[in-house]
């Protein structure tokens, strides 16, 4: 039941990504191209997603535990360090080069485009690269 539920949440998320235009690199890159063929649509994606999540999270957190688990698992760190800033800066550079981010590419894989698979394989390569660079620590992508 827990897995069917997880699949269903993935499906809802994927439908949102597809309908919103996030899975289309041409649209994503145009969002950032203010000096050229600017398309501000993706600001509306972020706006809609944050409104629902901001309110929805607070309603959910009134419960003492999730439906299929003992507790809510939230990243507790509040430390702003060079890894966070440098990693985020790098992520933005890669996003600006490829036009895909991981959350858009996963649903986009379902369109059957080979470029998406190539991107995702490279992303996994990037995860391993990070492990090579910081071998003592677990890849703790908390979010």
């Amino acid at each position: 039941m827990r897995l069917v539920y997880a699949l269903f949440t993935g499906l809802i998320f994927g439908i949102g990504i597809a309908v919103s235009g996030m899975m289309n690199p041409a649209k994503v890159l145009n969002f950032f191209d203010v000096a050229g063929t600017w398309d501000p649509s993706l600001a509306f994606v972020m706006g809609g997603a944050v409104i629902v999540t901001f309110i929805g999270y607070r309603l959910v957190w009134r419960r003492s535990a999730p439906l299929f688990g003992r507790r809510f698992q939230l990243p507790g760190s509040t430390e702003v360090d060079s890894k966070l800033i440098g990693g985020s800066a790098l992520f933005g550079i890669g996003w600006g080069i490829a036009g895909f981010c991981p959350g858009a590419a996963l649903p986009a894989l379902g369109t059957g485009r080979w470029e998406v698979a190539l991107f995702l394989v490279a992303v996994v390569g990037g995860f391993f690269l990070r492990r090579l660079l910081t071998p003592t620590k677990r890849a703790d992508a908390a979010t």
Partner: protein, 143 residues
């Protein structure tokens, strides 16, 4: 290439993305971050950790097919990027997002909604470097 400004479908898609994030918190008590879900699957320490992430990814991948079945149109994925740049971008995305502990979904949607200090730093950082990267590629180096 130009893309159409789609405030309504983008906002509607954003609402569904947010709903997916809220449902995952309600059911499994987890943040919906694509980087964490991918790397948590690749480096899973036990079967349980891998299974719910795998189920979510299957749900995401099914989304475009479901949309095609209902509307008769596959969501657009226009890739104005060479395979070489997709690989370079993907590697940087994977490295950066795992170093920075998150991407557009984890920091952008979930982190901002939680008012996480780390996400409030991460999001403007990767938006800025993405915009600068697109500007340099398109307007300085003449992409």
């Amino acid at each position: 290439m130009e893309t159409d400004f789609t405030p309504l479908t983008s906002f509607g898609g954003g609402l569904a993305i947010g709903l997916g994030a809220v449902l995952l918190m309600l059911g499994l008590g987890r943040i919906l971050g694509a980087t964490g879900i991918m790397s948590g699957l690749v480096f899973a320490e036990n079967k349980d950790e891998a299974l719910w992430r795998g189920a979510m990814i299957v749900g995401m991948i099914l989304a475009p097919g479901l949309i095609f079945a209902v509307t008769g149109t596959m969501p657009a994925v226009d890739v104005p990027i060479s395979p070489t740049m997709i690989v370079i971008g993907g590697l940087i995305v994977g490295l950066g997002a795992s170093l920075g502990s998150g991407c557009t979904s984890g920091h952008g949607v979930c982190g901002l909604s939680r008012l996480s200090v780390r996400s409030i730093v991460a999001v403007p950082t990767f938006m800025a470097t993405a915009a600068v990267t697109v500007y340099l590629i398109r307007h300085v180096f003449g992409g």
